[in-house]
């Protein structure tokens, strides 16, 4: 009986300690998991945005705008995605969420004009934010440009795409 009593006590101690560690790390795990989801969604958005730029298929308003101001963008161009990083930017009392800014690095050798590149970068950023909103079902919380995008505990904005 003593043996069994000791066994049960050790078990309870280990179990209690395990539960304590699990509970204390649960919020951390959840936070990391959310960040992981944000970054995975952002990558999906980069893929779609760069394909849209690459294939040169746009909404009608944008298409007409490009005919006048950015004729180079009427034809496709090759875009290479390099990397995406995030910067935590503290807590925002307005949205009551933590703020993240995403910075995307990409490369293209077929478009040299800075304004054209900015248009392409804006499209990539748009699809990045849209993809994040879709993943977290927060499309109704933001505007038509999905700026900022929202996850459960973060609100996400984007830097201009860095062309290298």
């Amino acid at each position: 009986m003593d043996f069994h009593g000791q066994y049960v006590l050790e078990y309870i101690l280990i179990l209690g300690f395990s539960i304590l560690v699990s509970l204390s790390s649960l919020s951390l795990v959840y936070d990391i998991n959310e960040l992981n989801t944000i970054m995975a969604s952002a990558r999906s958005g980069v893929l779609l945005g760069s394909e849209m730029d690459g294939l040169a298929i746009y909404p009608p308003d944008t298409f007409n705008n490009y005919i006048e101001k950015h004729p180079r963008l009427k034809s496709g161009s090759k875009i290479i995605f390099i990397k995406i990083i995030y910067e935590k930017d503290g807590y925002d009392p307005v949205y009551k969420k933590k703020k993240i800014k995403l910075k995307i690095y990409a490369s293209t050798r077929s478009v040299y004009n800075a304004d054209d590149r900015e248009c392409m970068g804006d499209r990539i950023n748009y699809y990045v934010r849209r993809s994040i909103c879709k993943s977290f079902n927060t499309e109704n919380l933001t505007n038509i440009y999905y700026n900022p995008a929202f996850s459960d505990n973060y609100f996400i904005t984007t830097y201009d795409v860095v062309w290298v």
Binding site: H4, Y7, V8, Y11, L15, S18, S22, L26, V29, Y30, N33, E34, N36, T37, A40, S41, S44, G45, L47, L48, E51, M52, L55, A56, I57, Y58, P59, P60, F63, K74, S75, G76, S131, K134, S135, F136
Partner: protein, 154 residues
């Protein structure tokens, strides 16, 4: 009797361990699965969307290439073009004029340049290619020894 009780307690201990292990694993799964599902569904949707747009672009480029090929073939050259019924279960429309081939797909427009030439559709100059229809694209001699591309529905 004592052995039976000890066996019973041992058995309870083992069951307890299994249950707690299962609960911990289940909690981890509960936290992880929704995010993985969201990522996977988002990625699948992205890939499907890219595939459809790429198919639309390929169709547009093929038509532009065919028109250029018929034009460069000289008078008498023709090509029979069968339009696909849909692109990825979605409707589309193709418009052609002398500046290029335009595709309208999923409320997006894309264009592909062609050699600047006179293109007509029988009596009409506004050329709209409809899905699931067959067209004959032919090169004929026009006035002043210039060539003209005529697109007719078969």
């Amino acid at each position: 009797m004592v052995e039976v009780i000890i066996f019973h307690i041992d058995n309870m201990d083992k069951n307890g361990w299994v249950t707690i292990d299962f609960m911990v694993a289940f909690m981890i799964i509960l936290v992880t699965i929704p995010s993985i599902t969201a990522i996977i569904s988002d990625r699948v949707e992205t890939v499907n969307s890219v595939r459809e747009i790429a198919e639309a672009k390929i169709l547009e480029e093929n038509i532009a290439e065919i028109i250029d090929m018929v034009y460069s073939g000289g008078p008498g050259c023709s090509y029979t073009l069968k339009m696909p019924p849909k692109i990825g279960n979605k409707s589309y429309s193709i418009t052609i004029n002398s500046t290029g081939v335009y595709i309208m797909f999923k409320n997006h427009i894309g264009t592909e340049f062609i050699t600047p030439i006179r293109i007509t559709k029988g009596k009409y100059s506004n050329i709209l290619l409809e899905p699931d229809k067959t067209y004959n694209i032919s090169n004929i001699k026009f006035r002043n020894n210039s060539n003209e591309i005529i697109i007719e529905k078969i």
